[in-house]
Every structure is written in C-alpha cells, then in structure tokens.
Symmetry: C2
Subunit: 454 residues, 2 copies
Amino acid sequence: MSQISQMGQTARNVTDIPDVTLILSGRYLIASSRSRDVQEQENISVAVASDRIVEIGPNLADKYPQAKCISHAHGLIMPGLINTHTHAAMACFRGLADDLPLMEWLQEHIFPREAQLTAEIVYQSTLLSLCEMIKSGTTSFNDMYLFAKDVARAAHASGMRAWLGEVVYDFPSPNYGELENGLRYTEELFDLYAGHELITVTVNPHSVYTCSPALLERLAAQAEERDTLYHIHLAENQDEVNTCMERYNCSPVQHLENLGLLNKRVVAAHGVMLTEEEAFLLARQKVKIAHCPESNMKLASGVAPVPAMLKQGITVGLGTDGCASNNDVDMFGEMNSAAKMHKVMQMDPTVMHAAETLHVATQGGATLLGAEKEIGMLAVGKKADLIMLDMDQPHLTPVYNPISHLVYAAGGGDVIHSVINGQVVMQDRQIITLDEKAIIAKMKEIGERVRNMK
Amino acid sequence: MSQISQMGQTARNVTDIPDVTLILSGRYLIASSRSRDVQEQENISVAVASDRIVEIGPNLADKYPQAKCISHAHGLIMPGLINTHTHAAMACFRGLADDLPLMEWLQEHIFPREAQLTAEIVYQSTLLSLCEMIKSGTTSFNDMYLFAKDVARAAHASGMRAWLGEVVYDFPSPNYGELENGLRYTEELFDLYAGHELITVTVNPHSVYTCSPALLERLAAQAEERDTLYHIHLAENQDEVNTCMERYNCSPVQHLENLGLLNKRVVAAHGVMLTEEEAFLLARQKVKIAHCPESNMKLASGVAPVPAMLKQGITVGLGTDGCASNNDVDMFGEMNSAAKMHKVMQMDPTVMHAAETLHVATQGGATLLGAEKEIGMLAVGKKADLIMLDMDQPHLTPVYNPISHLVYAAGGGDVIHSVINGQVVMQDRQIITLDEKAIIAKMKEIGERVRNMK
C-alpha cells in the first residue's frame, strides 16, 4: 500500500477505503448484548480487513466485490464466545468417570492418569478440544494445564486466541518435575510467545490448597513482572474452604487477602463458596471471576453467587472447566445452564436474563482477560473474532428475540462459520485450520491408552 | 408370504426368518440404560420387520441383504427418547417473552395470545415442534394443549408416536368455547383415533386451580371409561399451592386425594412442591411424575424431589414442557440439565447418575405412558422406535462410556437417523415424513402474526 506509483492501491489509500478481504453476511447481527446492538436486516454484513472489523452495515459484499464473502440468508453474526476457564487437554478424560464422590473421582481416576500424561497426549487432547471449541463458537479460551508449551503449540496451530499457562503447585509435576523447573518452564513459555499475535502467557498457581504461601507469592511476583494474569482456582467447594480453615484459620479468599495477593490480575475460577463480605472484598480488589456453572453442578460443588457479584460490579466471565467435569466445552450449553441455574436457585425468573448471560459469555470474558478493547463485541476497530449461526432450523424458529435464542435454544452445533483475528477457522462446519478427522482418529488411540493407565 | 408355491418366500416362512425390511447398523448399541445392555462392536445391528424389532446382533445387513440398510461406522443405536410432558404448539411462542415474573409472563404475553390461537396456528406450530423433536431424537411425546384434533392431525402426518388430549378447564376455551363442548370435543377425539396405531387420546384436566372439583371428577370418570391417562399439571409452584390452600385448605396433592382421584392413571406434570408425605402418597397411589427440570429452572418454580421419588419407586419420566418456558424440546439437553441440577441441589455428585437419567428419559417414560411392554428399550418383539447418533465428532471423543456421553456431552443435533414404529422418519438429518423447509417458512409467517397479537 505504500507506493504511490501503484495507482489502484493509491486511489484506495487516498479515499481511505480499507483493504477489505472478508465479508460475513447474514440476516441478524448481534454486535453486543445490548438490545440497541441487535439488528435484523437482509444482507447485514461485517467487513474485515486483515485482523480487524472495518465496517458494519447492509450489502457490504456489493461494496467490496473483491473480498471473499461468506453468507447465509438466515445467518446470525455475533461475537465469538470467550471461555474463561478450561483445561482443554482434559478432553482425553471425557466420560472416563462420572457421578462419583469428588475425592474418589480425583484420586482413583483423574490424578493417577494425570501423573502419566505426556507432551504428546496433552498436545493431541488440546487439538481435539480446540476442534470442539471452534465447532461450538468459542474464539478465545483461558487455559490452565500441564505441558503448557504443548497446549500453546496446539493453540497456535488452530488459530484460536488463547490465554494459557503452566499449572504450578508444591509437589512435583509430571511435566517439569521439581518446582524450580516449573518456574523456569514458565519463564521459557513467556519468552517463546513474547509478542505472539494470539497467545498470551499467564501465571497459574493451581489453588491455595496445593500452593504454599511462599509459592503463591513468588508466582504473584512473576505475574507482576510479566504484566499478566494470575489464574487460580478459588473457593471452588467446601473441601477447599475446610482445608484452608484447618491450615490457615481463614477462608481461601481471606488467605489471599492476608498475603496481599488480591488484585486486578487475579482471575479466580469458580468463586462458589463466598460470603457476602468476601464478594465485597473481591469487588474492591478488582478480582475477576470465571464462572463454571456446569462443572459446579456436575461435581456438586455448589452455586456461585453470580447475580450478587454482577450487582456489585465484579467482572464475571463464563467458563466450561475441563471436559472431565462437564463433559463438553460448548459455551452455548454453558449459557443455558447459567441462566437457568441461577433462576431456580434464587427462585426468581428475572435473574441472569438472556442479555446479561450473553454479556458474561462475551464482553464479561473479554474484560476478565483484559482484552475488552479488542474483543467481546463487534465494532469497527475491534479484532475480527466472530461467528455465524444458521437460524433456519426448527428449534430456532420463529425469531422474536435473537438473544433469547442464543441463550435458551441454540447449541454449539448451530455455528456454521467462525473467524478469529480475521482468519476463517471454520466454514460450513469444516474446520480450516486443523485436520479434524485425523485428530479424532489419533484421540481414539490415545483414549485406549488412557483407559488402560493404572 | 402365504402361498406355499412361492418357493423363496416359503423357505423363509418355514425357517421362520422374518420379513426383515430395515437394518440399522453402527458401532455402539444401547439396548437399555443397564450396563449389560451396552455393546461396542463393528456392524452391531438391529433388524426391523414391519413395526417391530426382530433381531439384534452383528452384521445383520449380510444376513438380510434384501432389507434397506442404514449404517454409520461410528453410529450409536439407542431407544428413541420419550417426552412425557409438552405443549408442542407452544413452539409459536418460543422466545417471545423470557426472564419475567411468572404472572406477568402469563397474563401479559402468553394468555392473551393463547386466546387468539386458531386450529391452523396450532397445527403448524405442532408440525414445527415435531420437526424439532424428530431432529433431536424424540420418538414419543405426551401432549396437552388446545385444538387437540389439530395436534393429532400433525402427529399423524409426522409418524411420531403420540399421547395427546384437549386441555380442559372451567373457563371458556378458544377452541371449543363452553365447557360442555370441551367434553364433547374430547369424546369426538377418542372416536376419531380409536384403534390408531400411533396415537393414544388422553384426558387432560389443566390443573387443580383451573378445574373445579366437579370437573376434575367428571374428567376422571371419562379417563376411567376410556381406559386412558389423566394428564394434569400438579404441584408446579408455590402459587399453585397457595391458591389451593386458600380455596380448599389443603395442598394440590391432598386435594386430589380428598377427591379420590389419585390413582395409576394420573400423570402429574412437574411435582415440584411436594412434601415427603405427599411423595409417599403418590408412590402408594401409583401416580406417575413427568419431570420437567429446564422449565422448572427457567420459570424459577423449584426443583422436584426426583432422587427421593425414584428411591420410593415412583415412575418418573422426563419432559421438556412447552417451548415458551424451556425454550426447546431437546430431550438430550433435558437429560443433561436433570442430572446436573439434582447433583448440585443435593450437593451430592452421585445422584441422578447417567444411567438413571437415561432410564428416566426412556423406560421411565414408557412406563409412565403404560407402554413399557412396547417401547423404551431395544429388544426383540418391541416396537421399532430407535435412533442413531453420529459418535465420530470431537465432543463425543473418546468413548469410554457411551451412556455418559448421551447424558453429559451429546445434543439433539447429534442424532442422524430416526425410526418410529418401523418407519424411517429421518435419514441423514433429513426428515422423511414432513416438509421441514415449508414448515419453517410457514412458521415465520405465523410468528409475525403472533408477535402482533394484542
């Protein structure tokens, strides 16, 4: 674009017409969860140049005939969903063991197998989970797991926007061995992905019950130094609270506060067992909550007081947690469960209304990740992370309020196209960036190995 | 088959080989929710002759080469799901109004529009719901609504197995007008469908708060005379209990007991607000419960004590309720919600385990409908009501326990083929019996009319 002698391009530079490379065109546009951002119009379109949205309006395919156009007469265009807490590689444990008491599930089924994980299993399992995420409309995820370099490698291959880090705890890890290696491993991860367009490395203390106060503090210093998120499981269930009370004579939240570690970098996954005072404290310290209703339900952990948190202005994102406790990473299902669970818990059908739930799954997640200027809604200048649903289906007919359908009737399987950072990652339900068939086939082999692990 | 001179056919008669017309062949077979009825084997197949299953085993397509064979290398064959409480025609209200206080929702949005319903709207809306049911794996449904002749007409067209009846209450109906006409309308319905292979007419008092004791008794006599089910909303929420206490100084369950109306014909939808004594009473009187967890969550009605009911031996089926309070009729989603909701309510991850949940959605429903000898599981001699899922997908990989996937990971969109009463009603997600595109198009028109109703 820089050479004035190239007349065609110059003309476009002069009149400020961007180099539109991609148009998505449909019938409904949900720019954000605000009702004024919902449009129904024939050929409502989003124009993308490189990695950003440059125009929103009707009939943009006519205006930019050179651009690739992906259209559906009954398509709904919306921001990609943001999964704020998952362990993608746990896809290899999907359905391995369910309906068990928590400790039996962890100690007899999950922990012994996690101890035998390898870089290859994590890489392949993450690829599988990425296929599922792309096919169900997620465009960003926040991951915490072992072998994070391999998680990152898979994320890079997929074109997904990712926040990820190596989970760290006091005891030796199947990945890095002794703790000191873990800190070094994380440093290497930061260096490997410095300046990566899509991957942000985070610091991931596992929890207050698996990390000593000294470790929690060292990791906080690392997060501060690297200017990144401090992603931790917090107040997930009563066992965690009990353990913390026994060891430190205070709750998990109070423990972090006593250590001076509650601040705006903290992404607290779950936040189920919170008193009203603790919720106030989290709000005051600008801690963010990654809410995982389906995992909390399936493990019988409890119900996070999300409606109260939202009232206090706490930033809440939605997450699926890992596949071992969900057992999928479908954020549409998660929205449905979140909205319904809170209504019945509060005995009030007005709480967690559809728009609020969609907000949590999009802009809430973006804000939690510190990326609210770039993603979470559709607007000119934002990153082009967007999906299209096929609304021409019995279960989405008629359409009075598209946002209601997204929360109460749609499923991940209704997503037909997905664009991340301006790249088409799925078209007509075919993943472009990954070889889905090969990944599934490989995962079947891995499944046999995981099944037989003792 | 009767002429001895036709040698080929005679040979088959002599050796008792049935006239197999259809084979379904896949990799997994879930004959019932019992673990011993779960098989994984290449080309595991079900052979159908006319309306019944005649053989189950591997490679039946080779054994019966003349039969039509529908196969999928990674297919899972299972009994069709049984929706024990719905109002199919309420599909026309899907997403019209959500997240509102119950009375505002009913009185300002639903009731005024229901008063303007027509036979055509009910017929078309039921067709739409039938498309959705077929595409999400339901093969039987139990319906209660206005214009039941039109519901029946739609069910007949679809090939779905149906239990249905005209909802009756004290006040005039938009369908039949005065109450006496309603009783006559129901009599006509019985006569119209006497002996129909797939449609069973039931008696449907709306509830104890909309039907006088005299009406409840008259309808019970009608159900007795016609030897059919007495399908009623019962103990759905606190408002119903309060109204009943004010009028009759007892709970809804006690009210029916006082009238002598609790018996094995009663299918009670919801059963949310039950004391322990009332649950005992329902068990003793052999009342069946149609459990609708998603509707109960979305309307904030409460949580039915289903784990306790199952312990007491009460027959429980699963239902979606109408689309206005769900907002879909996907029984896979309903299983997922049921299993997770009860775990977190009881703070016990072992309750409503996957197999129990699948049982409720299949054999539980069949027993509730009095059809347990015919449907609800796959076995030689049973009616051929079965579906196949495509398990070759990221969110269903790997497969350690297929029943876990059905409850915790699958969705209605994973169903690829459906057979009801031996008839293929969907193949490769194309509905055979109904014109899905035309039904969706018609429903969009109706949606505009419904939106503008005052």
